[in-house]
Amino acid sequence: MRSGLLLLLLSGGIVPAADGPKIPPAPAGPERIEVPPPPFSDGIFPCTNCHAGMPVDRTRRELTAMHTDIVLKHDETHRWCLDCHDPTNRDFLHLASGERVPFDESYRLCGQCHGEKYRDWRAGVHGRRTGNWNGAKEYLLCAHCHNPHQPRFKPLAPKPAPQRPDRSMK
């Protein structure tokens, strides 16, 4: 009797798993996080100023006419401009799903590959935050610290070393 009950309980626990594990429904979309404006180069945005009337060339190539200053060092063997920039409306980025994402929500795009960092960033652990520990905080976009085309953090000149103790009598 008792083992029967146990079996019932067990099977009751297993039955839903047969339809796949219970996953809480996906949120309607990640909540928007307030960030300062994206760090565009001067006069570069909106991109449609130039791109609006241009035909879309989807071939992977070296850029010679414009944007020659951009050197891609970000998984460049697998990635190219239009993997992140939306081909039909250049004022947007796009996710792997095709969903358009504005530049001030670019963290969603970065988070597709860097999920762990994205999670830490949302928790306030990755990246700099300013403001109040118990109130309003200011975040930065990934692109404020990491150039998306060359994301490795650039070395800095250190501030002066401390003076060694002076043992002489002054």
């Binding site: 953090f153 070395p155 000149a157 501030k159 070393a161 003076q163």
Partner: protein
């Protein structure tokens, strides 16, 4: 013991009398911060501000804001992110009115070799390459660890230093007699002595100060990191947190389960310095990756 070695009754009475007189005199002297009635404290702070104005020619606000209930501060520093740029050191100096000459730095950044790990015997605070981080090195900034079991406060003969309810170990500069016992007791080298009157260029003095923190100090007292008490008690991040270009410094209330600090302690590899000394630091080092 012979009779002649025993203290005489007269001797005993005289000593006891002297001890009692000493107690009475001490009680009549200056009071400790929290024993002073509010109106007297306000008056003495106003007097202090007037004196600073006279000495420094600048309006200095001295706050006496107490700890917030339900708050215990903690700090976490990401060793895998720190690049050793020392922005925190100088941000701290500017915020907390540290002497420029003689030089006092509350934060000291140690360069360590990746092969040796966290090892203070091979650490170098004087590293000075053109660019950081250096190949094969990592960096460990060290300041006051705000111990929950602080060795420094126990040795103070005047009770000039103590741990506040929010976990900040503070110094009352008016009570410090400069004996430097606390410096000897601190295992982290976090306390610094004003061998001379501190010098700060007038236009660089931070006028936003706290009685137990960054108010201008006289010669002959000990000072140290206070988690920027003048900022943190107003709900703001300490200066070093905001200045760190790589976002390696994290600060918050360890009693708040949704704080960044709790997230780090619950999800990351965390260590404290010199754990074996049982000082119970409230300053954690962690590896985010």
């Amino acid at each position: 013991m012979t009779d002649s070695e025993k203290p005489s009754r007269r001797m005993f009475t005289a000593s006891a009398g002297a001890a009692f007189a000493g107690m009475v005199l001490t009680a009549c002297g200056p009071k400790r911060l929290y024993e002073v009635p509010q109106h007297k404290l306000k008056a003495s702070i106003a007097e202090m501000e007037r004196r600073y104005k006279e000495q420094l020619g600048k309006d200095i606000q001295v706050s006496d804001q107490g700890p917030m209930p339900g708050v215990h501060f903690a700090f976490a520093l990401d060793i895998s992110r720190c690049i050793g740029c020392r922005r925190c050191v100088y941000g701290c100096v500017a915020e907390n009115n540290q002497s420029r000459d003689p030089q006092i730095h509350w934060i000291r950044v140690f360069s360590m070799e990746k092969e040796k790990g966290v090892d203070f015997t091979h650490a170098d605070p004087y590293y000075n390459p053109p660019e950081v981080p250096e190949e094969g090195h990592f960096y460990v900034p060290v300041g006051c660890q705000q111990c929950e079991n602080p060795p420094c406060t126990k040795v103070c003969p005047t009770g000039a230093t103590w741990a506040e309810k929010d976990g900040i170990v503070v110094i009352d500069y008016d009570w410090c007699i400069g004996c430097r016992y606390c410096m000897a007791a601190c295992p982290y080298g976090a306390r610094h002595f004003n061998w001379k009157a501190p010098t700060i260029p007038e236009n660089e003095i931070n006028p936003h100060t706290h009685y137990l923190g960054n108010r201008p100090r006289p010669k002959g007292v000990v000072e140290k990191c206070t988690f920027c008490i003048q900022r943190s008690r107003e709900g703001r991040y300490p200066a070093c947190v905001e200045v760190c270009p790589v976002g390696a410094r994290k600060f918050g209330n360890i009693l708040d389960p949704n704080s960044e600090i709790r997230y780090i302690i619950e999800h990351k590899r965390v260590l404290v310095l010199k754990e074996e000394l049982n000082t119970v630091p409230r300053f954690f080092y962690f590896y985010a990756t």
